[in-house]
C-alpha cells in the first residue's frame, strides 16, 4: 500500500475532493499547513514594525491507497489542484508497510 501526501492551495480543496471521489477514493485526511518556497509571502506593518511573513497557508491531504491506485490518485490530485501559478504545491508517494482500520482491526487493502 501507498500513502499519497499532497500540499496544496487551500482553495483547491473542494475540486481535489471531487476528483478523488470520481477516482473512487473513499477516504482521506486533511490538515492545515504553511508552505515556504518559490511563492512569495507578504509584508505586514504594525505600528511601524515591519513583519515579513514568508509562510503561506496550504492544506495537506493524505490518502492511503493500494499500490496500483497510487499513480492514478496522485495524477488525479495534480490534475484537480493545478492552477499553473507558483505555489500550487507538491504531491508525493511513500510505501506503507501496513494499514489497519481501527473500527474493525482489519489489515491491508481491506482497511482502506
Amino acid at each position: 500500500m501507498k500513502l499519497v501526501t499532497a500540499i496544496l492551495q487551500p482553495h483547491r480543496l473542494d475540486d481535489v475532493k471531487s476528483a478523488l471521489e470520481s477516482a473512487g477514493v473513499r477516504g482521506m485526511t486533511v490538515s492545515e499547513a504553511s508552505g515556504y518556497g518559490r511563492q512569495k509571502g507578504h509584508t505586514e506593518v504594525y505600528r511601524g514594525a515591519e513583519y515579513t511573513v514568508d509562510l503561506v497557508p496550504k492544506v495537506r491531504i493524505e490518502v492511503l491507497v493500494s499500490d496500483e491506485d497510487a499513480g492514478p490518485v496522485s495524477e488525479a490530485i495534480v490534475g484537480a489542484a493545478q492552477t499553473g501559478k507558483i505555489g500550487d504545491g507538491k504531491v508525493w508517494t511513500v510505501s506503507v508497510d501496513d494499514v489497519a482500520r481501527v473500527r474493525t482491526g482489519e489489515h491491508g487493502d481491506a482497511a482502506l
Partner: protein, 439 residues
C-alpha cells in the same frame, strides 16, 4: 425667542444617549465583522470605523447645518447657518426640553455615522478602502442629509411637508425611514453596481466568529436605547415608552426569527437570535413612541418573520447583499414604518414630544386604534419617496465611483483576503511570522 432654560436631567439623558448611539457603530463593526470570513474581518470593521471618522468631521462642519438649518426647497437645510457647530441655544429647534443645541447636534451626529456604516455590510469582502471613504463622503452629503432633512429638518416628508398637509404627518420617531429604509435601499443600489463576491453562492462564506456577532448585537441593542429613547430629547414618560417598546419588540422579533428557523431549517441558531434582535430594533425604531405593548409585540414578531424569510432572497435573485442589509434593514424598516399605520396610538402618554413639534399633532391614531387608514397611507408614501430617492441617488454615486476610482479589489486579493490586500494586516496571530526590518 424665549429664554433658554437648561434642564440638567434631560441633558444628562441626551449626553448618555449620544454616547450610547456612538457605541452602536463599533457594535455594528462586531456584528458585521463576526459574520464575514476571518480573512476579511478587519476590513469589515474598518468600514465602520472610518465612517465614524469621516462622518464625524463632516457633520460638525456642515452636516448638522445642512440637515437642521433653514429649509431650502424642502430638500436640504442651509449649510452655512451652523457651519462648524456655531449654534446658540436660543437659536435652535431643540429647545422644548431644555437640552443645549450642541448636545442635540451631537446626538444627531451619531445617527449620520451609523447610517453610513450600516450600508457597508452589503459590500463585504471586496471593495477598495479609498472608494469606500469617498462613497461615505458623497453618500452622507447627497443622500443621508437630504432624507434626514426631509423627515426631521422641516422638509417634504416632515410635519410641515405636503404629506402632512394633505393627509397626516408621517411618523418616524427615531429613524425607520431616515436610517433603516434609507440604508437598506442604498445597499440594494450599491450591490447592483458593485457586483458579487468571487465564489458567491458556491463557496462557503460562513461567519467566522459567532460570539462576535452576538457581542455586536448586544452592543447594538444597548446603544439602541439611546437611539430610540433618546429621540425624545428628554427623560420622561415618552422616553420610557420608547425604552420598553425597544425591549418588547426586540424580544418578540428574536423569538419570531428563532421559531421561523426552527420550522424552516430544523434548528434555532445564535445567528438567528442576533439577527432577530437587530430586525426587531429596526422595526420598532420609527414606532417606539407611538405604539403600546401589543403594537410592539406585533411589530417585533412581524419583523422577525419577515426578515428571517427575506435574507434568503439574495440567493434567489442573485444579488450579493453580503450581510443582508436589504433583508434586515429595508424589510424590517418597512415593516415598522407601515405597521405604525395600524397600531399608532396616543394612549397612555405615547404621544411624542418630537411629533408635537411644528404642529400640535404629528400623526393620527392607526387603523386598529380607530384612526382610519390615513396614517397608513402617509406612512407608505413617505417610505416610498425615501426608497426611490435613496436608491436612485445611491445608484448614481456608485456608478460614478465605478468608472472613476473603481470599486473592486482584484480577484486574487479577494482570495488571499482583503485584510491583507487593503490593510496589510491579518486579524489573528498565526504561525510563521518573521520580523526582518524595523523602522
Amino acid at each position: 425667542m424665549e429664554e433658554f432654560a437648561l434642564d440638567s436631567g434631560n441633558t444628562a439623558w441626551m449626553l448618555t444617549a449620544s454616547s450610547l448611539v456612538l457605541l452602536m457603530t463599533p457594535g455594528l463593526a462586531f456584528f458585521y465583522g463576526g459574520m464575514v470570513r476571518g480573512k476579511s474581518v478587519l476590513n469589515m470593521m474598518m468600514m465602520s470605523f472610518v465612517s465614524i471618522g469621516v462622518v464625524g468631521v463632516l457633520w460638525a462642519l456642515y452636516g448638522y447645518s445642512m440637515t437642521f438649518g433653514n429649509d431650502i426647497g424642502g430638500i436640504i437645510g442651509d449649510p452655512t447657518q451652523y457651519f462648524g457647530l456655531v449654534i446658540n441655544d436660543a437659536d435652535s429647534l431643540m429647545f422644548g426640553s431644555g437640552v443645549p443645541a450642541l448636545v442635540a447636534a451631537s446626538f444627531q451626529a451619531t445617527f449620520a455615522i451609523i447610517t453610513v456604516a450600516l450600508i457597508s455590510g452589503a459590500v463585504a469582502d471586496r471593495v477598495k478602502f479609498g472608494t469606500w471613504i469617498v462613497f461615505a463622503i458623497l453618500w452622507v452629503t447627497l443622500v443621508y442629509i437630504p432624507v434626514a432633512h426631509m423627515v426631521w429638518g422641516g422638509g417634504l416628508l416632515g410635519t410641515d411637508g405636503p404629506i402632512a398637509a394633505a393627509l397626516s404627518a408621517p411618523i418616524d420617531f427615531a429613524g425607520g425611514t431616515v436610517v433603516h429604509i434609507n440604508a437598506g435601499a442604498a445597499a440594494l443600489a450599491l450591490v447592483l453596481v458593485v457586483g458579487k463576491r468571487k465564489g458567491f453562492g458556491t463557496e462557503p462564506m460562513r461567519p467566522h466568529n459567532l460570539p462576535f456577532v452576538m457581542l455586536g448585537a448586544a452592543l447594538l441593542w444597548f446603544g439602541w436605547f439611546g437611539f430610540n429613547a433618546g429621540s425624545e430629547f428628554a427623560a420622561d414618560g415618552t422616553s420610557g415608552r420608547a425604552w420598553i417598546n425597544t425591549t418588547v419588540a426586540t424580544c418578540a422579533a428574536m423569538l419570531a426569527w428563532l421559531v421561523t428557523e426552527k420550522f424552516r431549517d430544523g434548528a434555532s441558531t445564535s445567528l438567528g437570535a442576533a439577527s432577530g434582535v437587530v430586525a426587531g430594533l429596526v422595526a420598532i425604531t420609527p414606532a417606539a413612541a407611538s405604539v403600546d405593548i401589543y403594537g410592539s409585540l406585533v411589530i417585533g414578531a412581524a419583523a422577525g418573520v419577515a426578515s428571517a424569510l427575506a435574507v434568503g432572497l439574495k440567493y434567489k435573485f442573485g444579488y450579493d447583499d453580503s450581510l443582508d442589509v436589504v433583508g434586515v434593514h429595508l424589510v424590517s424598516g418597512l415593516v415598522g414604518t407601515v405597521l405604525i399605520g395600524l397600531f399608532a396610538t396616543a394612549a397612555d402618554g405615547a404621544n411624542t414630544w418630537w411629533a408635537g413639534i411644528g404642529e400640535e399633532n404629528g400623526g393620527l391614531e392607526g387603523l386598529f386604534y380607530g384612526g382610519g387608514a390615513i396614517q397608513l397611507v402617509s406612512q407608505i408614501i413617505a417610505a416610498l419617496v425615501a426608497i426611490v430617492f435613496s436608491f436612485v441617488v445611491t445608484y448614481l454615486i456608485a456608478l460614478v465611483l465605478k468608472v472613476t476610482l473603481g470599486w473592486r479589489v482584484t480577484e486574487q486579493e479577494e482570495v488571499d483576503g482583503i485584510d491583507l490586500a487593503v490593510h496589510g494586516e491579518t486579524a489573528y496571530e498565526g504561525v510563521g511570522s518573521t520580523i526582518t526590518e524595523v523602522r
